[in-house]
């Protein structure tokens, strides 16, 4: 349901064909027992092995809470200028913070973070502009405050990087 909606949003933004893949299970090795979270870096590595031959990018969406060893949590992780990205919906829900469910707000956050992580795979770094979806957002307050689309600068850079097909 979310995926179907997100597929259209991503397709409209990047003017690309977006395909939905069959669900994958989160790799057990990515579970950090001490923290009850999953390592986004390990999930990303798993995703890389699943990229279809005809796909330019692969975005994974998970309900699990993600982290990296030095950070308490991350909303997502991407390979800068690479192929794969992952976004966690866990901390994008109002319920996580003890609030009442707010579906439109939740969808808007998923959309922003998905575009943001995909932006990284197109070689984009964090943007200084608060109007741009590539603006750094460490909290949902930041996510809600920033713009919902790429600024002209980031869109141009992403387009030129897509043309060059840079990868690392």
């Amino acid at each position: 349901m979310i995926l179907q909606w997100l597929r259209k949003e991503v397709a409209d933004t990047f003017l690309a064909t977006v395909r939905e893949m069959p669900p994958m299970s989160v790799p057990p090795a990515s579970f950090e027992a001490g923290r009850n979270q999953h390592s986004s870096t390990k999930i990303l590595k798993e995703l890389l092995g699943e990229v279809p031959k005809d796909a330019l990018k692969l975005l994974g969406i998970t309900g699990m809470d993600l982290c990296i060893p030095i950070l308490t949590y991350v909303f997502g992780e991407a390979q800068l200028g690479g192929t794969a990205a992952v976004v966690s919906t866990a901390r994008l829900r109002q319920e996580f913070y003890g609030g009442a469910p707010d579906r439109p707000l939740f969808l808007e956050r998923v959309r922003k973070e998905s575009l943001h992580e995909l932006g990284h795979t197109f070689g984009l770094i964090h943007c200084r502009s608060g109007e741009c979806v590539m603006h750094l957002s460490n909290t949902v307050v930041d996510v809600d405050a920033k713009g919902r689309n790429f600024c002209t600068y980031c869109r141009t850079v992403a387009a030129s990087n897509a043309g060059g097909g840079s990868g690392k």
């Binding site: 986004s40 870096t41 030095i70 308490t72 992780e77 390979q79 800068l80 460490n138 909290t139």
Partner: protein, 455 residues
């Protein structure tokens, strides 16, 4: 959108997953990140680029984070280091901060904390760089061509030099060797309307009387044995440019007379020649000798002195303008960075103190040589005390001393003079106690040498 200087961050951690994830996260923020898996590797990578920040894990096998920070601060005292640790103990946190860590993070840390901290560091460094830029801009006012100073006397000299550059007057530049007499002469030439004509320099002390004569005036073919062809002298070669007579105090009385005639009549003959050749050049002269004393002793013609000394410039020795030492050091570092392709960023406080306190008998030239040598041997991007070698006036310079006793006597005398006979300081330098020093002074019959009275 303005392009900003890339911020270079080094991540040091023995765990690959930490290095990988932190790198990836920081790169998304636009930083240039490189990793090292331990202290040894980190130190190796230190000279690779101008790091702005190091994120260092506290617990690593071999060298721990605080030991690494200590090592780094030896060569890069202003390096910002953030210590990361999984073990939150107040003791180590306090220790790290006391040892000079910029901040202390307990793993895992809040993403917002690290973002804000690094942003703060970047902004701070930007301000520092802006400050350095403005200071450099300001410094331009202290410059006269290749000369640099903020000493009031020197600034007056720069002003005077700019003024006299427009005239044709003879200028006599006096000063100890190494103070920059030739640099000033060149600056006067470069600032003058003659700037596109030649600047010809003659060192009068290095040639015998007859050679200097032929060097200055040239000679006709067959003027003397060995004069196989016509030779134009420097007076002729200078054309409408500037002729700089260095070490004028060293020329013979006969040549002094010849030169006086040339200056008065503004024409000369080649050696063995009969045609009078007009002089179009402007004449500047310099000496490190006390010409007034030479006149009193009958070694220098007073009339030539007055002819040369139309405008007199006395360059003070470096020890009388110590405020210029840091400025000159920075100037030489910039110059040699370009020549040597190095990226030396500055001088440690200790090294600067040694240089500011030195007497510099060889003046700015000696300082330049010391900085050049230090830059060759410097290991990091900072010149430290170990790199600064001031041995040029050591006892080895005295070829007369043969026995150990003679060398000891000579060395003690030298150290005493360097410290203005301050016994405590001299004893400290020599590594002996005061009583021993007094005994040695008595044994060798050393006496404080009279300081020559100033004119």
């Amino acid at each position: 959108m303005t392009m900003e200087k890339t911020v270079n961050i080094m991540v040091v951690d023995d765990e690959e997953i930490v290095r990988e994830s932190l790198t990836s996260w920081l790169e998304e923020d636009g930083y240039h990140v490189e990793c090292a898996e331990g202290g040894k590797k980190a130190l190796e990578r230190l000279p690779e680029r101008n790091w702005d920040l190091m994120l260092v894990d506290l617990k690593m096998p071999g060298m721990d984070g605080i030991q690494l920070m200590d090592e780094v601060h030896k060569t890069s005292p202003d390096m910002l280091v953030i210590i990361m640790t999984a073990f939150a103990t107040v003791d180590t946190a306090v220790k790290a901060m006391k040892k000079g860590a910029y901040d202390y993070f307990v793993k895992p840390f809040n993403p917002d904390d690290i973002s804000l901290t690094i942003r703060k560091i970047v902004d701070h460094r930007k301000l520092v760089q802006e400050n350095q830029f403005l200071r450099k801009e300001l410094k331009k006012q202290y410059k006269l061509r290749d000369m640099i100073s903020k000493n009031e006397k020197m600034l007056e000299i720069f002003d005077l030099a700019r003024t006299v550059a427009r005239s044709n007057s003879t200028v006599l530049i006096q000063g100890e060797s190494g103070t920059g007499k030739e640099l000033l002469a060149r600056a006067i030439h470069d600032e003058s309307p003659r700037t596109n004509a030649p600047f010809i320099s003659v060192s009068c002390a290095s040639l015998t009387e007859s050679l200097l004569e032929s060097e200055l005036f040239g000679h006709e073919k067959g003027a003397f044995t060995g004069a196989a062809a016509l030779k134009r002298g420097k007076l002729e070669l200078a054309q409408d440019g500037t002729l700089f007579l260095d070490e004028i105090g060293d020329i013979s009385l006969k040549l002094q007379m010849d030169l006086l005639r040339v200056l008065e009549q503004r024409e000369f003959r080649r050696v063995g020649g009969s045609d009078l050749i007009a002089i179009g050049s402007r004449i500047l002269a310099a000496t490190n000798r006390d010409l007034k004393k030479a006149i009193a002793e009958g070694r220098f013609r007073p009339d030539l002195y007055y002819r040369l000394n139309v405008i007199s410039i006395q360059i003070p020795p470096l020890r009388e303008r110590r405020e210029d030492i840091p400025l000159l050091v920075e100037h030489f570092i910039e110059k040699f960075n370009i020549e040597m392709g190095k990226e030396i960023r500055g001088v440690s406080e200790g090294a600067m103190r040694i240089m500011v306190d030195n007497e510099w008998p060889g003046n700015a030239r000696e300082l330049r040589n010391v900085v050049e040598r230090a830059m060759v041997v410097a290991k990091g991007n900072l010149i430290t005390e170990a790199d600064v070698s001031l041995s040029s006036s050591g006892p080895g310079a005295n070829p007369g001393a043969k026995s150990l006793e003679e060398i000891e006597k000579e060395h003690i005398r030298l150290v005493l003079n360097e410290n203005h006979w301050n016994i405590v300081r001299s004893a400290h330098t020599l590594g002996i106690d005061r009583v021993t020093l007094y005994n040695k002074i008595k044994k060798y019959g050393l006496k404080r040498e009279g300081v020559a009275p100033k004119e």
